[in-house]
């Protein structure tokens, strides 16, 4: 922290400011809610959240467990990383499983080549929140990811059905967050709302955070669909003509394998990725998340039904 501060002007760098803001938000949640949980996807944004939680609460343990909603179709590298990282931190991991929701008949699996478990996650998440009695869920969403998010508050209120109502948001003033809720209601809290993808990568570089290998250029079998490259796996049924071929790719997000596309890239280190992103011409979600492409208002529709 001290290293990047100008000693004469006493100016914080933009990363220092964003970091301090996020730490403040996490501590407010811990202080004002009884049962918070930190949602961890294994992706870079939630890896940053873990680092921020260390900065907010060490040398004590986190005042909340870490929860992963596992679609069962995740990249194996990400699951391996998740287990190792949480163990290193000595924190408690809760896994909410979409497979279990399917087995219990809570949701019905989609079928066909475009089947994805992405939509099913909503039910699994809400069930897990109810089961554990969580009243606040910290997540790594950012306002620059999608246009609907630009208007969402840092503390986002959900009714008993986990639904977001963009018209009934509380005004958020200064750094005075109002985390009060009634029984049965929950809040979603986004400490890195104001970060951009580039900020996240710069922070990963500055803090030397380890990321799952799929974020860096590697060889794998992929196939092309709708102008995007998907990892060939047992989870995705390929259409005729979607023949897999080897390519050097990296992933910009680590969602479910069925809807996360990779980009051709030679960037094998954090610095190379930062350089590539600084020059990039396509937004993260537009490029690599099939779930957002379905309709113009895709994200907004899913948020209304409780999606993160």
């Amino acid at each position: 922290m001290t290293a990047t501060r100008d000693p004469v002007q006493r100016n914080l760098s933009h990363l220092d400011e964003l970091e301090a803001e996020a730490i403040h938000i996490m501590r407010e949640v811990a202080a004002e809610r009884e049962r918070p949980v930190l949602l961890f996807s294994g992706g870079k944004d939630s890896i940053v959240l873990l680092r921020l939680a260390e900065k907010a609460f060490r040398p004590a343990k986190f005042p909340f467990p870490v929860m992963h909603v596992d679609t069962g179709h995740n990249f194996p590298e990400v699951i391996e990383f998740r287990d190792r990282r949480v163990a290193e931190l000595g924190e408690r991991l809760v896994v909410a499983s979409v497979q279990e929701s399917i087995d219990k008949g809570r949701v019905v699996e989609e079928t066909g080549p475009r089947a994805s478990r992405n939509r099913l996650q909503t039910t699994t998440l809400l069930d897990a929140i109810a089961e554990h009695g969580f009243d606040a869920a910290l997540g790594g969403a950012r306002r620059d990811e999608e246009r609907a998010r630009a208007k969402e508050r840092i503390f986002s209120f959900r009714d008993d059905f986990g639904q977001w109502n963009p018209r009934a948001q509380r005004p958020e003033l200064w750094n005075l967050y109002n985390a009060r809720i009634r029984k049965g209601e929950q809040i979603r809290v986004f400490p890195i709302s104001n970060w951009t993808e580039l900020d996240v990568w710069q922070y990963v570089a500055r803090e030397q955070l380890e990321l799952p290998r799929i974020y860096f250029a590697h060889q794998r079998e992929v196939f092309r669909r709708d102008g995007m490259l998907y990892a060939a796996s047992d989870f995705v049924e390929r259409l005729p003509g979607e023949d897999p071929f080897p390519a050097t790719v990296r992933f910009r997000t680590v969602g479910d394998m069925t809807c996360t596309g990779g980009v051709l890239s030679e960037a094998a280190t954090i610095d190379e990725v930062v350089t590539e992103i600084a020059a990039t011409r396509v937004t993260e979600r537009g490029e690599t998340r099939a779930d957002d492409r379905v309709s113009e208002a895709a994200m907004e529709d899913r948020k209304r039904v409780g999606y993160f």
């Binding site: 001290t2 990047t4 100008d6 002007q9 006493r10 100016n11 914080l12 760098s13 933009h14 220092d16 400011e17 964003l18 301090a20 730490i23 403040h24 501590r27 407010e28 811990a30 202080a31 900065k55 907010a56 609460f57 060490r58 040398p59 004590a60 343990k61 306002r143 620059d144 246009r147 208007k151 963009p166 018209r167 948001q169 509380r170 958020e172 003033l173 200064w174 750094n175 005075l176 109002n178 009060r180 009634r182 709302s193 104001n194 970060w195 951009t196 580039l198 900020d199 710069q202 570089a205 500055r206 610095d271 930062v274 020059a279 011409r281 396509v282 937004t283 537009g286 113009e296 907004e300």
Partner: protein, 425 residues
């Protein structure tokens, strides 16, 4: 594009934009993003499509800032939207507050975290009621910097005379309201003149473009570096043998520069101690400055909890049970004298009673009308509050961090107002 090294060191400027409907705010923001090359291929494709569908013959940059479905249907912005952009010199965080009358509360919200306000003025109309309202809010929230962007200069033939006339009116308004660091810049958001690039419409204008101004405005001195204030958010007490005696007070420095050895008074109780150490991420810091989130350990074993304020005993804040404050009322339900509500100030929440509605501001004239019967949504008023428990506060004009509070409805839990301390006792 800046090197990553440069950008790691660039500061963050938070700005809020305000203007009446159709003054061109969306176009201006779109222009800023477009000319600073923040628009990515898929976003551009998206607005080109949408422009075509609307039958426009040009790419409507305003569509870039268009948000939720409801607004798209109504063709109007309804809420505060936050957006980031970056240039080689600075990282910007922009709060976009919509213009129509009933959304005063949105501008107050957007302005509360801002270092700078950009207020749009239509060159054809000059200073209108909304200009006064937005300027009043910028003054009330003590924004350290204000820029009036006189837009649509292309529609007044880029007239220097017209600009000078408006600039004079604005200077009068700024002086009357006590705006900090006001600047006036003639622009055309549609054509791009003086937004990012100079353009050739106004060779008579010798000042900076809007972006140059945003990139160079000096923000290092905006924070209060004098009066040490540290609201305690959270007490860190590890349940581990190796940290058996560790007791750290976690929080974000509100003001002042903190160093080990500094004398401390714990308020409201009044206990005394000294700073033992300042921790951040497992390291001990030599000092901590406003805005930083750190953990302070005290030299003595004193009783400190969330909601307490650590301060410099040489210049302590007022420990108050009565506040005279500027309030922006944000609820559909009117506020009447004797109403009970909660005040959240720094990390402390206390019950309060409305003792008196002293006056409300008439925006048309900027005059104060005394003793209103009630406050309605978007009213800006002077209010006297009595608190059930003491809080440690400073006047907002001296300290934005310890002088600000929100009002919360105990029954609905909604945030129903924003307050700024004028006097405390």
């Amino acid at each position: 594009m800046a090197t990553s090294e440069q950008m790691l060191h660039s500061a963050l400027l938070r700005l809020v934009t305000a203007g009446s409907v159709d003054d061109g705010k969306s176009t201006l923001i779109g222009r800023l993003l477009y000319d600073t090359k923040q628009i990515l291929a898929d976003q551009l494709e998206h607005i080109e499509d949408a422009s075509r569908r609307r039958g426009n013959d040009y790419v409507d940059l305003a569509l870039l800032t268009d948000g939720l479905r409801a607004e798209r249907e109504q063709g109007i912005t309804i809420d505060v939207a936050y957006r980031s952009f970056v240039t080689p010199r600075r990282r910007f965080q922009l709060a976009d507050a919509p213009g129509h009358v009933q959304y005063t509360r949105n501008m107050v919200t957007g302005a509360s975290t801002a270092d700078l306000a950009v207020i749009l003025v239509d060159a054809r109309k000059g200073v209108v009621e909304q200009t006064r309202r937005h300027s009043y809010i910028a003054a009330m929230l003590e924004l350290p910097h204000v820029v009036f962007a006189v837009n649509k200069m292309d529609l007044v033939d880029y007239s220097e005379e017209r600009f000078d006339e408006i600039a004079r009116d604005l200077a009068g308004l700024a002086a009357r309201l006590g705006l900090h660091d006001p600047h006036t810049i003639p622009i055309s958001a549609l054509k791009g003149d003086n937004v990012v690039d100079r353009g050739d419409g106004m060779p008579w204008y010798g000042g900076t473009t809007l972006l140059e101004h945003l990139e160079t405005v000096e923000i290092a001195g905006d924070r209060n570096l004098e009066d040490r204030r540290f609201p305690v958010q959270w007490v860190i007490r590890p349940q581990a043998a190796e940290f058996h005696d560790y007791r750290g007070y976690a929080g974000q420095v509100a003001s002042g520069v903190w160093r080990p050895g500094d004398e401390v008074v714990v308020l409201p109780a009044g206990l005394r101690s000294r700073v033992g150490a300042i921790d951040a991420a497992g390291e001990e810091l030599a000092d901590a400055v406003p805005g930083q989130s750190v953990t302070i350990r005290l030299a003595d074993d004193v009783d400190v909890a969330r909601g307490d304020l650590l301060a410099d005993p040489e210049c302590p804040p007022v420990v108050a049970r009565e506040l005279l404050a500027r309030v922006c009322w944000m609820s559909e339900r009117p506020l009447t004298p004797r109403a009970r509500l909660l005040v959240k100030q720094t990390t402390r929440t206390v019950p309060a009673l409305v003792d008196e509605l002293v006056s409300v501001v008439e925006i048309e004239t900027l005059e104060e009308r005394p003793a209103p019967e009630q406050l309605v949504l978007n009213d800006l008023a002077l209010v006297r509050l009595r608190l059930a428990e003491p809080v440690a506060v400073d006047p907002y004009a001296v300290n934005r961090a310890t002088g600000a509070f929100i009002l919360v409805d105990e029954a609905t839990n909604d945030t129903i107002g924003a307050g700024m301390v004028v006097e405390a006792s």
